[in-house]
Every structure is written in structure tokens, then in C-alpha cells.
């Protein structure tokens, strides 16, 4: 066996062996830690609690979720944007870093792609509590009902396409790994567990035999979908913003909004990848593969997006606030100094300044420092989404705020948080670790084939294939 070198990883550590890699990648599949079942139980109860809250909402109307005519869009729409947004992390870490030949990505790709795979459907599920009458949701998939001029329908098409691409992007790199896993299971005693996994891997592997030709073709396909998924993700987050932006309402009608949504998705997506990678590293003992350097690099990637987001926020509010027009100025005033000031400044400190500050100084730029920064980003960006969605939806359009008496005038609506959407939000958050635990119960947590190939220096070969 040749020595395996993981490029740019763990300069201070002995390079892990191939056997170590495979053992670590398969450990979550093969072993059941003591905390596994209790965690599953607790998370399932939380998710069921959210479903119960939704049933209550269906029976009693959307009013139980704190909505009113003075706040027609609020937490569910913010959650939809947040959860679909964080799914971008998978595409960034896996696709963008692959295309830029950043070899250090390899131990993170599977975790990043799995994070995208679970957060995107969770985000899509928020369409259901968002609808007033979810029993008629089938009208969205039944073409005779389609009204092609509706931004919501564009959203639906874009997100569905992106989901398909995410599944393919998760599946393709899994093919050689499933072959390795199948091999590994040949020696196991034939229990139900083993049988289920073996048949799953057989389906995943298909007729892939692992010949150099097949591997080249597979890498070509992965390269192609890696290129495709980036514009697709850009379009998804842009189109998501169209539902808000294609209106005449101040605060929504912003040409900056699509860019804003894309950058926010990149920012919070990388942050969530940091969190899932950190959790996986500790729970499944991946310290030999995922090193502090990974966290620092992800941290830098994250604050690059964070700085861009801060810049867009500043630009938007300055220009709209300065305009002095009825809707826009009043809206900015309400955000920076009015009734939405507290959540906005929480975002600004926790999601804007603090992560930059943490990454700026070497003494804070540790694994735990990056994890803390990422947690702040994910939480603060959710709050920021509330600040994006709620103020324009509570804006009075007839008694225009600037009518007479300055920006403070006007009857702004109010959104009141209730236990129903909070339960559903907590349930959706709990569904992320729950689904990830289930996914890694069946799928190797490290991209074994990719890491081994990179170590053998096949990366150059891939790029030629993609370029040709």
C-alpha cells in the first residue's frame, strides 16, 4: 500500500493511511454509538411536535401563526428563504472548490453535499405551512392551473430543478464509494442491517465497475454537474427573491434583492457546512481528516461572503433611506431606528461584525472560534431574513408613512410570534441533524474515492477531461 497524502491537509499530523480513511468513512455505517438512538428519539419527538403544531394551524387557520392582513408574510416565508439558502453551502464547498481545484475540500464534500441534500427539502416543506389552503397544493403541480406569469410558479420550477440537481450531485460521487462499501460488506455476517445496506449499495453502484475508463467518465459527469449546479443555485436564490421583488412594495421592489439573496445563501450556507462538519468531526471521530486548517479556510470563505453581504446591506439601506420617497425611506427608518431596529442590529453585530472580528485575529481564529462565528452567522442570517420579509409586509400602503408628519407616521402592521410557527421552526431545525444522522447511517461520511484519487494525483486528469 502506498502512502496517502491528503493535499494541504494536516501539515502537523502524520498522513492517514488508506485503510484508516475507509475505516473512518464507514464507521457511522458500521457502528452504533451509545448516543445514536437517544438522539434520534429526541429529534423525532421535536419534529413530531412541529407536525402537531401544523395540524393545529390547519384546523384553526393561519391566524394562529400570528399572521394578519397587517402582516401577510412573515416567519414561514423567512424560513423558506433561510433553509433553501443554507443548502447553497453544499454547492459552494463541493462544486466551486472542485472547479477551482482546491484539493483540501475532499474530506468535506460528502458532508457538505449531504447538508444541501437535507436542508433543501426542509426549506421546500415550508411551502406547506405558508399556504392558506394546503389541501389544494396539487394545483402547483397540475399544469392546467399554472399561471406562467406568477413569480411563485417560477420559484416552484426553479427550486424543483435545483432539488433534482442536488440529488444527482450527491449521487454521482457516491457511486465509487458505494462500490467500496459493498466490497467492505462482503465479509460481514448477513444480518438484516447488512442485507439492507448491501442491496442499497448495489442499486447505487449499478453497473459501475471501477475501470479507469469508467472512473474518467464518472469524473467528467461530476465535473459537468459541478459546473451546472452553480448557475442553477444562483438562479434558484434569485428567483426566490423575485416573489418578493416583483411587486411595487417599498422594501421588496429592490433590484439588489436577487444578488442579496444569492450572497446571503452563500454566506449562511458555508456557515452551516462549518457546523455540520464540526459536529460530524466530533461525533464520528474524523479528526485525522478534518483538521483545524479546514475550519480556518472555511471561515475565510465565509467572511468573504459576509463582507459582501454587509456591503450590499449598507448600499441598499443608504440609497433607499436617502431617497426621501414615501415608502423606501420610511421602510429604512423602521429597520435602522424604528420598530425593527432590535432584530436588525442583532444581525449587524452577530452576523455582520462579529464573524469578521473573529476571523481577523489569530487568537480567535481557532476551530472553536470559527464554529462560534458560524453559529452566529446562521442564527443572525435567519433574523436578517425576518427583517427582509416582515417590514414591507407590514407597510401601510394607503395611509402612506410619509403622507404628512414624517417617517414615523402611518399605521404599520405587526407580526406577533406564536407558539405554532416557533414549534414548526424548531422542528425544521431539528430535522437537519435528524436527517443527517439517518443519511450517514447508510452512506460513507467521507468521499473515499475522491480522497484516494486526489492523493494519487488524478486531479489533473479530471480537469483535462472537463476542459476537453
Amino acid at each position: 500500500m502506498t502512502d496517502v497524502i491528503i493535499p494541504n491537509v494536516g501539515r502537523d499530523q502524520a498522513a492517514p493511511q488508506n485503510a484508516d480513511l475507509r475505516a473512518a468513512a464507514m464507521r457511522p455505517v458500521l457502528e452504533t454509538p451509545r448516543w445514536w438512538w437517544p438522539s434520534i428519539a429526541v429529534l423525532t419527538v421535536i419534529v413530531l411536535g412541529g407536525i402537531a403544531a401544523w395540524v393545529y394551524q390547519v384546523a384553526n387557520g393561519l391566524g394562529t401563526a400570528g399572521y394578519s392582513d397587517g402582516a401577510f408574510w412573515a416567519i414561514y416565508e423567512a424560513n423558506l428563504v433561510t433553509f433553501i439558502g443554507v443548502s447553497y453551502g453544499g454547492a459552494v464547498v463541493s462544486a466551486i472548490l472542485r472547479l477551482t481545484h482546491a484539493g483540501w475540500r475532499a474530506p468535506l464534500t460528502r458532508i457538505a453535499e449531504a447538508t444541501a441534500l437535507v436542508t433543501l427539502p426542509i426549506g421546500m416543506v415550508f411551502i406547506i405551512p405558508h399556504l392558506g389552503d394546503p389541501s389544494r397544493i396539487w394545483e402547483l403541480v397540475w399544469p392546467p392551473y399554472w399561471n406562467l406569469t406568477s413569480p411563485i410558479l417560477w420559484d416552484f420550477f426553479a427550486v424543483s430543478t435545483y432539488l433534482l440537481a442536488t440529488i444527482v450531485f450527491f449521487y454521482l460521487p457516491l457511486v465509487p464509494d458505494a462500490a467500496i462499501a459493498l466490497e467492505r460488506f462482503e465479509d460481514e455476517a448477513p444480518s438484516t442491517r447488512v442485507k439492507v445496506r448491501k442491496s442499497l449499495y448495489r442499486v447505487l453502484v449499478g453497473r459501475f465497475g471501477g475501470t479507469p475508463y469508467e472512473r474518467r467518465r464518472l469524473n467528467g459527469a461530476i465535473g459537468l454537474i459541478a459546473i451546472m449546479i452553480i448557475p442553477m443555485a444562483v438562479s434558484v436564490h434569485s428567483v426566490l427573491s423575485f416573489a418578493f421583488a416583483s411587486s411595487s412594495r417599498a422594501g421588496y421592489m429592490e433590484t439588489i434583492l436577487p444578488v442579496y439573496f444569492v450572497v446571503a445563501a452563500l454566506y449562511s450556507g458555508v456557515a452551516l457546512v462549518v457546523l455540520t462538519v464540526a459536529a460530524s468531526r466530533n461525533l464520528f471521530h474524523l479528526e485525522a481528516f478534518v483538521t483545524p486548517r479546514h475550519f480556518v479556510r472555511l471561515g475565510f470563505l465565509m467572511i468573504a461572503f459576509g463582507a459582501a453581504y454587509l456591503y450590499l446591506t449598507f448600499t441598499e439601506y443608504l440609497i433607499d433611506g436617502y431617497s426621501g420617497t414615501a415608502g423606501a425611506s420610511a421602510w429604512v427608518y423602521q429597520i435602522v431606528a424604528g420598530r425593527y431596529a432590535i432584530p436588525f442590529w442583532i444581525y449587524f453585530v452577530a452576523g455582520g461584525i462579529a464573524p469578521l472580528f473573529i476571523m481577523m485575529f489569530r487568537r480567535f481564529r481557532t476551530t472553536s472560534g470559527v464554529v462560534v462565528a458560524s453559529f452566529l452567522v446562521v442564527a443572525a442570517l435567519w433574523i436578517k431574513r425576518l427583517v427582509i420579509v416582515i417590514p414591507p409586509a407590514t407597510e401601510p400602503l394607503v395611509n402612506s408613512p410619509l403622507a404628512k408628519g414624517g417617517v414615523l407616521a402611518g399605521n404599520w402592521g405587526t407580526y406577533h410570534f406564536t407558539w405554532v410557527p416557533i414549534s414548526i421552526t424548531i422542528a425544521a431545525t431539528a430535522a437537519i441533524p435528524l436527517l443527517l444522522l439517518v443519511v450517514f447511517r447508510f452512506v460513507p461520511i467521507l468521499s473515499m474515492a475522491e480522497m484516494e484519487e486526489l492523493a494519487e494525483g488524478h486531479e489533473e486528469l479530471d480537469s483535462q477531461e472537463v476542459g476537453a
Partner: protein, 285 residues
């Protein structure tokens, strides 16, 4: 008799001429979006199909019983005293919750800082912002120029509430007010009782109009503020029985439409009388 008859014909021609001219010079929001959507799809067959359907749903200019009515409203702000009897009459007739003010009376301030009152029904826009945004096509415009909601289609995305520049749409956040058996079945022209989880709005009492009845808010206004009429025959009447010739009345009283800059072409005309700017800020954002 002869003179009146002649007048009617002339008015009809004028109205139709105006309609056609407006259609010719205005690239409507719907038209733009439809063109853009089809262009980006590049699907010829679909385009042809949509055009055929659109042509089929264009208002017919005549029916066997005569020219199609084009309903409109004139609200004389000089007369409104803010009693809100129109609001309550509307809510009683349509079995609405107290906060579902389909006909809402806003307290506004004029240039001198004095209060005046402004009743706001659905503006029945000729180019409504709410119609194209609905993903399932639950909003539509009738040949008589009424924008209505099909509550048997509405899935409750509320994007029409986002689109409407007049805050004229009201969601059913809870169970509707129970209603006894109605003279009309539950349909877009008479959405009584309302449906939980769908959007409702002023319908200008669409189901009552063919029977010759005026909308509830018109008949219940003690000040005669609200005129209801037909642009085709150029005549409108208020609850006190005063009839006016629409074209003359609007011109003589300097009538305006609300938020003209939004390009929605409302069919509700306001007659200001207290120096109101009607909140027509040139740029809302």
C-alpha cells in the same frame, strides 16, 4: 327619447374608442409578462395556445342583450363624513369579520393638516397588479371590468396581497363568519360565506348588479358619496338617486384616480375637494 337614444349610441362609441386606443398604446403589465414568459420559454405551441385562450377571455363588446356594461365607481370625497356605514353594510351583506374592511374608510390629512375621509373599495383596475402574480390563476377580470377571486382555486399564497398597491385584499385567517343560505351560490361573484385560507376582496356586489341592484356600500351611504355606474352608457347613480353623466361629471369636478403612477388604471374615480393630494407620491420606493 330620440335624443337620449342618440346620446347613448354616441357615448358607447366614445367609450369603445377609448378602450381600443388605451389597449393600443399601453403595453400592459400582463402583456409584458406574458411576452417575456413566452419569449423565455420559446415554446411556440404553448404561445399559440395561450394567445387563443387570452383571445377567448377578452371582453366581448356586445352581448345579445346589448353592449357589455363596464362598471365603475365615483367617490365624491367632498361629501364623505367618515361614518363608515358603507363598511358595516358591506360586512353585513358579505358576512365578514370586523377587520375585513373590503370597503375601508381611511382617515387622511389634507395639505392644511385637516382630516378628511377616503372610502377605499377595490379599485377594479383595468391593468390589475394582483391578477398576473397568482400561481394558480385564481384572480381574473370579468368582461364587465370586475376583478374577482375564485376561492375554489385560491391556495392562499397571499402574493396578490403583496402586489395590490391599495391594500384592498383581505385574507381569511380563521373560520369565516357563518352565513345563512344565500340568494346566490358561493361563486366569485358572490363569495359568501368566505373560505378559510383564501383571499377575499371587494366585489362591487357583482352578483347583485345584473338584477339592477346597486352595491351595498352605495345604497347605504347617507351622504350620497358613492356613485356607481356604467362607462358604456356613461351614466352613474348614487344611493340617493342622483344620476350623473360620467364623462361630464368627472371632467367638471377634476376627478383623479388613486396612485395613477402605478399604471393600474383604476375604475374608481375620486373627486377631491379639500386640496387632497390623495397620497399620490410620484415614487413609492
Amino acid at each position: 327619447m330620440t335624443t337620449k337614444h342618440d346620446n347613448e349610441i354616441v357615448a358607447t362609441d366614445d367609450a369603445q374608442h377609448e378602450e381600443l386606443t388605451a389597449a393600443a398604446v399601453t403595453i400592459g403589465r400582463r402583456g409584458l409578462l406574458r411576452a417575456a414568459a413566452l419569449g423565455s420559454l420559446g415554446v411556440g405551441v404553448l404561445g399559440a395556445l395561450t394567445e387563443t385562450l387570452a383571445a377567448a377571455s377578452e371582453p366581448a363588446t356586445t352581448t345579445p342583450s346589448g353592449p357589455v356594461k363596464q362598471w365603475c365607481m365615483i367617490i365624491d370625497l367632498r361629501l364623505c363624513n367618515g361614518c363608515k356605514l358603507c363598511t358595516t353594510a358591506c360586512q353585513t351583506a358579505h358576512y365578514l369579520h370586523e377587520d375585513q374592511t373590503w370597503m375601508n374608510v381611511y382617515t387622511m390629512q389634507n395639505a392644511a393638516g385637516e382630516n378628511y375621509f377616503m372610502p377605499r373599495p377595490c379599485q377594479m383596475c383595468e391593468d390589475p397588479a394582483c391578477v398576473p402574480v397568482c400561481p394558480v390563476g385564481a384572480n381574473f377580470r370579468t368582461p364587465e371590468g370586475l376583478t374577482l377571486v375564485d376561492q375554489s382555486k385560491c391556495i392562499g399564497t397571499r402574493i396578490c396581497m403583496n402586489a395590490c398597491p391599495y391594500d384592498a385584499r383581505y385574507f381569511n385567517w380563521s373560520d369565516p363568519v357563518p352565513a345563512p343560505r344565500q340568494p346566490f351560490k358561493q361563486e366569485p361573484e358572490w363569495p359568501v360565506p368566505q373560505v378559510k385560507g383564501t383571499v377575499g376582496k371587494c366585489i362591487e356586489c357583482a352578483a347583485m348588479l345584473p338584477t339592477g341592484q346597486l352595491p351595498e356600500c352605495v345604497t347605504h351611504c347617507p351622504m350620497g358619496v358613492i356613485y356607481f355606474g356604467d362607462l358604456t352608457s356613461d351614466a352613474a347613480v348614487n344611493g340617493m338617486g342622483n344620476t350623473v353623466k360620467i364623462s361630464t361629471y368627472l371632467a367638471e369636478n377634476d376627478a383623479v384616480v388613486f396612485k395613477e403612477e402605478y399604471g393600474t388604471h383604476p375604475r374608481v374615480y375620486y373627486i377631491p375637494g379639500h386640496g387632497q393630494d390623495l397620497n399620490n407620491n410620484p415614487s413609492a420606493s
